[in-house]
């Protein structure tokens, strides 16, 4: 281990001067150990899932328990994938996620911009309403919400079936108080002088959003986009209620259906369900690998300070 790095650590609760003392070296090692345990706790269950997916049904239940399957057959992944036609559900989920991210960033961003910077008459009233709506879970009003969504579908009547199915799932992410507050807090921290300057230069309000606010807000846009992405991937209740047609189902809805009907479908046992779960996690891992820097980088403090 490069203990040198401790000698150059200038910030934080403990810095280089503390680490000259042996007691803090021990503290540091304890911190490292706890973090390693946390990482292991986070990674071992998915690894177990991955390994178990390769077992066959009888192996899963066999005693004494053995961790590893008798054979890893890559062919099983392909076989399960094909049997369920999993690619279709991935494409569906991707469509839902992309639309949700767009709606989430644009609509919440614009509204937060109005609340934080333009402040037109009445903005306080509407912000209070947003906060009220935030406290109360949308699905506590599940019946009217369901009916409302069926009405939105009527608006898109005549459009393609996938559009009527997915449009409400996209749009509902445009009304998210949490993302809105994140945007609002960030916008409020931007230097006021910039907006004055843009105004004097004759920039319109909407123009200012796209030319001044958006370029300065990349970090928070990234954070909201990623939060929306994971939320939309995991979204279950509404897609489950709305997407009844198998050809429109998202991965989550399909997995739930597979689990719920497991006993009744021939040849689809728990081992295959575990394999399906593994497969369903893989694209998220790829996505995560691609966006890992944005996700885990210090998203907020890379902003500008006045």
């Amino acid at each position: 281990m490069q203990i040198n790095r401790l000698r150059t650590k200038t910030g934080g609760i403990l810095n280089f001067s503390d680490y000259k003392k042996p007691v803090f070296k021990v503290v540091y090692i304890v911190i490292l150990a706890i973090l390693f345990i946390a990482v292991l706790t986070a990674l071992i269950p998915p690894l177990w899932l991955f390994i178990s997916g390769f077992k066959d049904a009888s192996e899963l239940e066999s005693t004494p328990y053995h961790l590893f399957p008798e054979m890893f057959s890559i062919a099983k992944i392909a076989e399960v994938w094909k049997a369920i036609d999993f690619g279709k559900y991935f494409v569906n989920t991707l469509i839902v996620v992309v639309g949700a991210v767009l709606c989430s960033v644009v609509f919440n961003g614009l509204l937060a911009y109005a609340f934080a910077i333009i402040k037109p008459k009445g903005h306080k009233f509407f912000f209070a309403l947003v906060m009220l709506g935030y406290m109360i879970p949308a699905i506590a009003s599940i019946v009217p919400l369901y009916k409302e969504i069926m009405n939105v579908r009527l608006l898109f009547d005549g459009a393609a079936e996938w559009l009527t199915g997915y449009a409400p799932l996209w749009l509902i992410f445009g009304a998210n108080a949490f993302y809105l507050i994140m945007f609002k807090n960030y916008f409020e921290s931007l230097p006021k002088a910039l907006f004055e300057a843009a105004r004097i230069d004759g920039c319109s309000k909407l123009g200012m959003f796209f030319k001044v606010v958006v370029p300065l807000s990349r970090p928070i846009i990234g954070v909201v986009a990623i939060f929306t992405m994971t939320a939309a991937w995991s979204d279950f209740l509404l897609p489950y209620l709305i997407l009844q047609d198998d050809s429109l189902m998202t991965v989550m809805v399909k997995i739930y259906n597979l689990q719920a009907t497991m006993g009744t479908v021939m040849g689809f046992g728990p081992d295959r369900l575990l394999m399906v779960l593994t497969i369903s996690i893989l694209p998220q891992i790829v996505l995560f690998a691609l966006f890992q820097r944005q996700i885990t980088a210090n998203a907020v403090s890379s902003g500008i300070k006045e």
């Binding site: 490292l32 706890i34 973090l35 946390a38 990482v39 899932l49 614009l110 109005a114 402040k119 709506g133």
Partner: protein, 326 residues
């Protein structure tokens, strides 16, 4: 902007219509920008909320309300013993989530901000469970908590000499286990929020504290904690709000609230009323009750004076107890 203000001074104050006109003129751009978001909020949040309240006082045919029946729906719901079970369970979820889930992300965030080795590995690893979709997580843990004595978790417990457990089929353990599952999924993401708050603390502040002779614990007490306190407070109430919305975890992990209703939550009950029992007005009533509980809790919580007094009393109590012990 300046021009408008000047012209505003010039106009006759009594000319109300003119004033209204300038208000519109000044604000229409902002209103237009607000409009799309407001429409979405109205459509997906505010209108359903109001309709739901109305529905809870109505008779329903399918999902459509007809005649008003007063508090009949509420009485019918409260006559059902499962409602009281769901109510106590919901508070049990909240209790366990505070015990199990609240401190973990704070400590992780603190450690992540202090550590200088393997930074990337730690952040990625700890955040990892958050990227797995909720349904996949709960099904995975349902299999890990397989009550079969030869299954993975029981074998693992056996290594430490602990007798096999029935896990999710145990009425006492089911809620803590579901909370553990949720913590496993959520703690990493929350830790990163704390991390970003922690990284906003300038080195100069710690330096100043050091010059004043503060030791490590004092630096945590007087620099770190005050700085992240708003985040802690916010995330605490967020966690409570989100735990009250627990729904699909018991639906999937215990097949809809088992064993014997020991894990059914209010929201799950509301869902079951609507989509399994076909009783939309009872579903609305449960939803309204749940919303009221959350509003009351939030308002009480956000009233800072009451909370500070409350904490002050606890602190005094502890100080007195400590003195007595000495």
């Amino acid at each position: 902007m300046k021009k408008e203000e000047a012209s505003e001074k010039l106009i006759d104050r009594s000319a109300l219509s003119y004033k209204a006109l300038t208000t519109v003129k000044k604000n229409w751009g902002g209103w237009l920008i607000m409009l799309p978001g407001i429409i979405l909020f109205a459509f997906f949040v505010w209108i359903p909320l109001i309709t739901n309240i109305k529905l809870s006082f109505q008779e329903t045919v399918g999902f459509t309300g007809s005649g008003f029946v007063g508090f009949d729906n509420y009485i019918r719901v409260m006559d059902n013993p499962i409602f009281w079970k769901a109510l106590t369970n919901t508070f049990k979820y909240a209790f366990w989530s505070v015990i199990i889930g609240f401190l973990v992300p704070i400590v992780l965030g603190l450690f992540l901000s202090e550590v200088v080795h393997f930074k990337g590995l730690f952040r990625v690893g700890i955040y990892f469970p958050a990227i797995i979709s909720g349904i996949a997580v709960v099904i995975m843990w349902t299999y890990i908590f397989n009550p079969n004595p030869g299954a993975v978790m029981n074998v693992l417990l056996g290594v430490f000499g602990i007798a096999p457990s029935s896990f999710l089929s145990s009425q006492e353990m089911v809620i803590p286990l579901i909370v553990i599952t949720m913590t496993w999924k959520g703690a990493g993401a929350t830790a990163l929020i704390y991390l970003s708050a922690l990284q906003n603390i300038g080195d100069a502040q710690y330096e100043a504290a050091r010059i004043d002779g503060a030791n490590a614990l004092q630096r945590i007490r007087y620099v770190t904690l005050p700085h992240i306190w708003p985040t802690v407070k916010m995330l605490f109430i967020l966690q409570i709000i989100s735990i009250f919305q627990i729904f699909y975890e018991p639906l999937v992990m215990t097949g809809g609230g088992g064993p014997n209703g020991a894990s059914v939550s209010l929201l799950l009950l509301s869902y079951q009323y609507a989509f399994e029992m076909g009783d939309a007005s009872a579903s609305a009533a449960v939803g309204v009750i749940l919303s009221l509980i959350i509003i009351v809790l939030t308002v009480v919580y956000l009233k800072p004076k009451g909370i500070t007094n409350f904490l002050g009393k606890i602190k005094n109590g502890i100080v007195k107890a400590v003195k007595k012990c000495k």
